[in-house]
């Protein structure tokens, strides 16, 4: 009980340690090849092996070039369509439709979801309607959307919006509801009004959840654009794939698919960049991952 009085006088100057909790950068051993280089090498090797076996199988007659295409055929068509400008143009059309739909759907959906925080009454009223709408596979709306918006750009964008908006709305609303009540209380005692709490607490604390939907929604944006093009279109990667597969032109189909893959890949890194800009305080956490 009496432990405090036992502390000698010279120890009374107690200071907490001021060293911030930073992680030490991993030590690099100069003799070894960096892990990342080995990883990229292995990844390339896997791709080369698969393509090589594929081409070999076609040459030896084990794989039907008619039903599966061949890597060399794919490369030839890719080269030709890049040179005549048709592949870049189709890619541009699809990327444009998907990105526009993704941006509009995500922004509008997130803003609506966040603003539901203002009125729990309205939120509870519309919640079952939103849930009901969300439980329909949105792709089933595609034929009507084509009927309403025609066969051009608008219908693809509308489809991408319908796929992305609800996801963003639900995530944003949930995140806004989950915002720390103690931070809101602190704002109240500092004399903040509802708009100031919304702007200073609700929006930033919901941002990580909203940014997380970007990753899902970028994919949905592409789904909307490609499915729209499948149903009715004159241009785009979906159009390319659909018409080529109805002609059993498998090499062209593969070019369309690989291009979509590349587009998705690039968009993933664009989202990564956006994430670092929007939530720098969160992105830092990745470096502190626990290694087990």
């Amino acid at each position: 009980m009496n432990d405090m009085s036992a502390i000698p006088e010279q120890n009374l100057n107690i200071m907490p340690s001021d060293t911030p909790a930073r992680t030490v950068p991993p030590k690099t051993t100069p003799a070894k090849i960096p892990e990342s280089l080995v990883r990229v090498g292995l990844q390339l090797l896997m791709v080369v092996v698969v393509l090589g076996l594929w081409e070999l199988g076609v040459r030896l007659g084990w794989i039907s070039a008619f039903l599966f295409g061949s890597p060399v055929g794919i490369a030839q068509y890719a080269g030709k369509s890049i040179m005549d400008g048709s592949l870049p143009y189709d890619t541009w059309v699809t990327v444009f439709e998907a990105t526009l739909g993704f941006v509009i759907g995500t922004v509008v959906g997130s803003l609506l979801g966040l603003s539901l925080w203002y009125s729990p009454f309205i939120a509870r009223t519309v919640e079952p309607i939103v849930v009901a709408f969300n439980s329909v596979p949105k792709i089933a709306f595609a034929p009507i959307i084509i009927l309403w918006f025609g066969t051009g750009l608008t219908s693809k964008v509308a489809l991408a919006i319908s796929l992305t908006a609800i996801v963003a709305l639900i995530a944003a609303y949930q995140a806004a509801k989950d915002a720390d009540p103690d931070l809101q209380g602190l704002m109240v005692t500092l004399g903040a009004n509802k708009h100031q709490i919304f702007y200073n607490v609700i929006v930033p604390s919901s941002l990580p959840a909203i940014v997380a939907t970007f990753r899902i929604n970028v994919g949905f944006g592409l789904v909307g654009a490609v499915v729209g093009e499948f149903i009715s279109s004159q241009r785009g990667l979906g159009h390319l794939i659909f018409t080529a597969s109805s002609l059993y032109d498998l090499n062209t189909v593969w070019v369309g698919l690989f291009t979509l893959m590349a587009v998705g890949f690039v968009l993933y890194f664009v989202i990564d960049w956006v994430e670092r800009r929007l939530i720098p305080w969160k992105v830092m956490d990745h470096r502190q991952e626990l290694r087990v």
């Binding site: 009085s5 911030p20 909790a21 931070l183 005692t189 930033p204 956490d285």
Partner: protein, 261 residues
């Protein structure tokens, strides 16, 4: 000559919560009073409604009945007059240290340049120079609580309301921050209310202690702590410290001495 009115006085505060359809009385006529520049601790058994008292003083809850006076003047709530600190540092993770400290002044629309100047002075005073642009996540618990203390002081509230602000910290850091708090309170002549279950901290820091009973809660006892030494360790070394400590433990029915002697 009449004595000046207390800085803050709560009288006959009642508060019930509705749980499973029936009203659950939590506060049943609580009186709390603290003089200008005073340091009052409110302690009580767990579940006695300390948090409810905290929320009423913070202006986050309205009492069902009872009056609140500030400087002798009746008020409906204390919003904008009270600065509070909790066990959680409540720093905004998306704001840097400097931006966190600036929060109150932003809300008061104080010009940015002036606010930044003031914030930097405070950060220097409390040994946080060089961490202006760090996110709270990268700081130690003690540093985060210091930032929270600066944020509370810089918005210059009449009354500081503390809810076990240091109980999540290690003992050394805690003693250090208690010292910082006492010094700041004396420098800025603040009135402080500390809501806590920590008897040790209550005795070491405060001038007065109000003991609450179990639910439905009333005030059980008021103690004046007559320890001149104001440093956290000095106060704990005072011979009277343990007297107060044991009396307060007895008030809360905590057994501190062996029965058989």
């Amino acid at each position: 000559m009449s004595a000046p009115p207390p800085k803050l006085s709560l009288q006959g505060i009642h508060k019930s919560f509705v749980a499973k359809g029936s009203a659950l009385p939590v506060l049943n006529g609580v009186d709390i009073s603290v003089a200008q520049g005073g340091f009052l601790s409110v302690i009580g058994p767990s579940g006695c409604g300390k948090t409810t008292v905290f929320n009423i003083i913070a202006g986050l809850l309205e009492p069902d009945a009872g009056t609140i006076h500030v400087d002798g003047e009746a008020v409906t709530n204390l919003r904008g007059r009270v600065g509070y600190m909790m066990q959680k540092d409540l720093l905004f993770p998306w704001r840097t240290v400097l931006e966190n400290v600036l929060l109150g002044m932003e809300l008061k629309k104080i010009p940015a340049a002036e606010a930044r100047e003031t914030a930097r002075e405070y950060l220097n005073t409390y040994g946080l120079a060089g961490f202006e642009n760090a996110y709270p996540r990268t700081l130690s618990g003690g540093m985060r609580q210091r930032v929270a203390l600066i944020r509370t002081l810089i918005s210059n509230p009449d009354i500081l309301l503390l809810d076990e602000p240091f109980s999540a910290l290690d003992y050394q850091t805690r003693l250090y921050l208690e010292g910082v708090l006492i010094e700041a309170v004396d420098t800025f002549k603040k009135t402080v209310i500390l809501v806590t279950h920590d008897i040790d901290e209550a005795v070491a820091l405060s001038r007065h202690v109000t003991v609450l009973s179990g639910r439905p809660t009333k005030v059980k006892a008021n103690y004046a702590i007559d320890i001149q030494e104001r440093t956290p360790i000095g106060a704990r070394s005072d011979p009277r410290f343990h007297e107060y400590f044991h009396s307060l433990c007895a008030e809360l029915d905590i057994q501190t001495r062996r029965k058989a002697a």
